[in-house]
Symmetry: C2
């Protein structure tokens, strides 16, 4: 029989041996998650979802692709990074670039004027990947947004509070949440003499200040974007403003700024935001920073970004030392986006935050690697061990009983596994309990229970086995 | 100030009113999930994942797209349904068509010879959608697979057990799990005089027997696929074989079948499978059915499919009555697929099952609609109500305390919401408790607690509020 099996296998192999020219890889910029990574990911998601639910959020889901025209004109200079699907007849489709535009499309399409929702899903960008830094072409976004016509800064402050709660509970170390305001930026640009039609592109350039030095940013403004050098230098003066309420007050007294209505509105919003952050107990985490710009076109009000301390975004001589995973959350107010989808231009004001979860994964994965900690990837509680040969059917009956009692149970898939191999499997996989049967146990109507860690054994009657196991598992989980 | 706000709004609207030619829709064959649908989906996922974990499974994830060549040559006649991405420079990519081929690629790429994993994720098929029947172009698959060289039928029987556990716990009514074997089908085709090179295509046609009548299947075999009519009629004789162990025994005694070695091997496997199903307590759910074929090319051994009773797959005169969601799970053994990816053709035998979760969603959604039941889409426990004007800051302090104590809390995003509106919100959203503050409560250092359902109120000191709320919530959850 063995010979026949082997011959059969050989025949199958022969059938399949063609010249295999497969490139065995994931597409560029993407990765598989192995079970250890999934265990980390599950833990992070649970922490974040718990926070969203604590704030009363619902969740929705949207398709991974949208009509191409849904995404057109929403991402400014970044539109070139959108993945298009091949025209195979029918609609022209693109993979979603973020979760915000699909959310706005969903609100307009369903005429929803109020919702507080979170959405955790993958998005796609044909960007230059830097996978060790957690920058991928396929990556998770993890968004919380509040849509609705509400009073100034109340939902905005809650978004900032949520960022603080999540970063604190993920235990990523010290962090700061920088806040700024698009109206203040616009007013400041006007005050500095930037022409109206250059606001957005100059804003994109200012956004690079967290990744590079002022000299480079200035050069891009002047040389590439044609801004006159005096305007650039005036911008250079203002982007240094940062701090708490005192910085906001100081700017409000600046005579050039005072002349810009939109700048004053932005500063008044920021004052209110800082007051609310104080009430929410997070004033020490929040910092006004006029150099914060955020790249996306659609922001219209408050913007914010959380940065971990102890990581740097600036280019460093020792590239491998600087993990460059500083920014871990960001968001802001976008009151015009839903109106872009509504046939009558009806506005639904929105404010939201996106957690940079891939950077969080990277940090936690590196931490696990460094600590050499072993992560369990299964939750198996009991392994059914046969002490002798020819007990497969007895093992099956035991497994059935345990599964039916909702006890997480495994057994060997071999007819006659060696006892040592079975115990080894328990130890390798952190399974706490083994149920052992042999001929004598069957005759006496009992099973042997072994605590894998201590090898302590006891004999229990077969008909009270399930209760005894539940007691033992409860005891073990109290002990740890 | 109000006038200014309105003018401002008007200006914004004017800015945005362009000729909006957006088609506001999801791509053909896809859908959004609203919060109610997400709540149903979450419940179904939890039930299924709990079962997978009970059987000791790990989980992995793979990218939503693969290199095009990874999918090439795996799906037979269905390959035309694969979504390709546009060639934007770089690799040629396709959206995944199922989770099985990416799993096989993952095993070969990482040289994994043993794993028991589940994977729940969306897959993509450019099929003709039938959305009311739960057939989409973007849909979830929910797969459990056991890879490894093990003894005959032990992992296979566990897959069948898992299907039974899941369908029972989802409470979808009566069901049957049909089982068959690819080797038996091949042997039967050979016995009936089907030429070797027509096995796969005739198998695809037999697979339609659960959706249409024998006459149509026969016509396709003879007219489209060029099978001689006598062979078709012989197939017609055999595909009627169904039942339990006695049907398998009967076929084993059939002289034509006996001559086909592969048929006998298939029948021996099926006998063993039925014995194991008996030990797992699911014999009454499992039924041998020689007409079960399953479309995919890659199956090599046992195949199975679960069908709900009370639903029909057959075309019906009254289309709207027949919901046609009979088949809700399926799978089988595929020992050759991983070898197709390995440069040396090294085989990793696999067996798995896929839960047809979209059909499950459809059934449960329709059930909820029919019952008029209200599903909560948030888990909010407490709503902070202000009884008078100008208490926003007090509310914020209360919310902070409650959030920091991990109590799920909401408040109005208006500065001065009306008390009635706030209570209405609680009732509409099933929020069990309201915390009420007014000037007098603030002066006395207390808050009022109201049970929303009964309107029963009590006054508790501000400094023991959190404990009192936790007690009250525990009491309320015991009562329901």
């Amino acid at each position: 029989e063995e010979v026949e099996k082997l011959l059969q296998l050989k025949a199958q192999i022969a059938d399949d041996v063609q010249p295999h020219k497969f490139v065995l890889k994931c597409p560029k910029g993407t990765r598989d998650y192995n079970p250890q990574q999934m265990a980390i990911r599950e833990g992070v998601f649970n922490t974040i979802i718990k926070c969203f639910k604590r704030h009363g959020a619902e969740t929705i889901d949207t398709p991974v692709f949208e009509l191409k025209e849904t995404l057109t004109g929403k991402y400014g200079e970044d539109s070139k990074l959108i993945y298009d699907l091949k025209d195979q007849g029918g609609e022209l489709l693109s993979l979603r670039y973020d979760l915000t535009v699909p959310f706005a499309r969903y609100l307009a399409m369903n005429k929803i004027a109020n919702i507080k929702r979170y959405h955790i899903a993958k998005v796609y960008r044909r960007d230059n990947p830097a996978m060790t830094k957690g920058r991928f072409r396929e990556f998770y976004q993890c968004d919380f947004d509040i849509a609705g016509q509400y009073d100034s800064m109340i939902p905005d402050a809650e978004c900032v509070k949520i960022v603080a709660e999540i970063l604190t509970s993920l235990d990523l170390g010290e962090y700061k949440i920088k806040v700024n305001h698009r109206k203040l930026l616009d007013g400041m640009f006007a005050a500095c003499g930037v022409p109206d039609d250059k606001f957005r592109t100059i804003c994109s350039t200012v956004d690079k200040l967290d990744k590079t030095f002022w000299e480079d940013v200035r050069a891009e403004m002047v040389d590439e974007k044609g801004l006159n050098p005096e305007a650039a230098d005036r911008i250079g003066h203002y982007v240094k403003f940062q701090g708490g309420m005192e910085s906001v007050e100081l700017l409000l007294k600046d005579e050039t700024i005072q002349k810009q209505k939109s700048a004053v509105e932005g500063l008044e919003d920021l004052k209110l935001l800082l007051v609310y952050c104080e009430l929410y107990g997070i004033a020490d985490k929040v910092m006004f920073d006029l150099s914060l710009a955020r790249g996306l076109d659609y922001y219209t009000g408050v913007i914010y970004e959380a940065v971990l301390q102890g990581y740097t975004n600036k280019p460093s001589a020792k590239e491998e030392e600087s993990v460059s995973v500083g920014s871990v959350a960001g968001g802001g107010r976008y009151d015009g986006l839903v109106g872009m989808f509504d046939p009558r231009g009806k506005m639904v004001p929105c404010v939201g935050v996106s957690i940079g979860i891939e950077r969080v994964f990277s940090i936690l994965e590196q931490r696990v690697l460094a600590s050499n900690a072993k992560i369990r990837t299964t939750e198996t509680e009991v392994f059914v061990v046969s002490a002798q040969k020819n007990l497969l059917e007895e093992r099956m009956k035991l497994c059935k009983e345990l599964w039916d009692a909702d006890i997480k149970t495994e057994q060997s898939y071999k007819r006659n596994p060696k006892p040592l191999d079975q115990f080894q499997y328990c130890e390798n996989n952190g399974i706490p309990l083994a149920v052992i049967i042999g001929q004598s146990e069957i005759q006496e109507g009992v099973v042997k229970l072994r605590v894998v860690a201590t090898r302590k054994e006891c004999v229990v009657p077969r008909n009270t086995m399930v209760e005894e196991i539940k007691k033992e598992l409860a005891q073990l989980s109290r002990d740890t």
